[in-house]
Amino acid sequence: MPGVTIDKNHCKGCELCVRACPQQVLAMSRKIGLKGYFYAELFDSSRCIGCRICAITCPDAAIEVHTHGTTFTLFDY
């Protein structure tokens, strides 16, 4: 099952990943990180498909994408 880890101290709350996610499983937390930004969170890990689009769009390299088992790679990156 794929999933993402979002570093809440690197995330600056720009919300680009929230819009980019094709599964719409990311949302902004109501808590703040080290620099005072609201950070993004994965709120429904069961629907994450590990496409990496959120990580690709993140300007702060705050998102790590991992998986175990079979994953489909949807495009070359």
């Binding site: 720009c14 919300e15 620099k35 769009t57 993140c58 300007p59 088992g69 994953t71």
Partner: protein, 258 residues
């Protein structure tokens, strides 16, 4: 048999863990990562030197695990020329904004390109001067409001925005010129390919490369990061067409767009 977690996307090694000083949603972060990914994939980190500009990315040297030189405003192509001529075995890249490259540094980039200096130039075009607080740039759009054209860029007084890739395409010296964008994931993927190709050309000792990257500046455009990507799509993409105008690798000078 327990199944291991595999990381399929992480911060590239050539990029440090330092929290950047860039604004939320600033595409500098994406472009830095694409450059770092290219350096990692091509395995050249230990022989790469970057040249930092004056602009928001003046502190770029804090975010890469490579040696760096800090250039005076606009002069990065000259520093890169001096360095690369003496150390052609090293991979040299410059990273400049629109003020640095298209305004004060216009002579330096044109001549470095024309001489065919074999370094890779990353040109971040966000149609504004970011670091100094949002003044007009040579790439600012007609009617776009900035602090030094508060009624919008008046083309009758200051002319039209400069299209750097097209300008350099007029040079005869073979080089690789492409304009890309990082406003959405699909375009980021294509931008990464162009940046990697540019570095590969340098590794193969082929030619000068310049990748112009259309970027957002949410803070100085007065928009949220997502609104800024929409503004880029609506206003910058029509004027600054994406694609490759000169590709050293093909027989013809012009190849089709990506």
């Amino acid at each position: 048999m327990a199944e291991q977690n595999t990381t399929i996307f992480a911060r590239p090694e050539a990029m440090t863990e330092t929290i950047t000083h860039y604004c939320p949603g600033c595409t500098h972060g994406i472009i830095h990562r694409l450059v770092a990914e290219a350096i990692d994939t091509l395995g050249v980190r230990e022989r790469t030197v970057g040249v930092a500009p004056v602009g928001c990315s003046v502190l770029a040297y804090n975010y890469f695990f490579t040696d760096f030189l800090e250039a005076p405003h606009g002069r990065a192509p000259a520093l890169a020329t001096g360095f690369k001529r003496l150390r052609p075995d090293m991979i040299v890249f410059t990273y400049q904004g629109d003020g640095d490259l298209a305004s004060i540094g216009m002579a330096e980039i044109i001549h470095a390109a024309n001489r065919g200096e074999k370094f890779t130039a990353i040109f971040v075009n966000n149609a504004i001067y970011g670091m100094t607080g949002g003044q007009m740039a040579p790439t600012t759009m007609p009617g776009q409001i900035t602090t030094t054209c508060p009624s919008g860029r008046n083309v009758a007084q200051v002319g039209y925005p400069i299209k750097m890739v097209e300008l350099l395409s007029g040079l005869v010296t073979p080089m690789y010129l492409e304009r890309v964008s990082v406003h959405d994931p699909q375009h980021i993927v294509m931008a990464k390919r162009a940046i990697r190709k540019a570095f590969q050309y340098q590794i193969d000792n082929q030619c000068f490369s310049l990748i112009e990257v259309l970027s957002t500046c949410p803070t100085n455009w007065g928009k949220t990061p997502t609104e800024a990507t929409d503004w880029l799509t609506e206003h910058l993409l029509p004027y600054y067409p994406l694609g490759c105008t000169k590709d050293f690798g093909t027989k013809e000078d012009n190849s089709g767009s990506v």
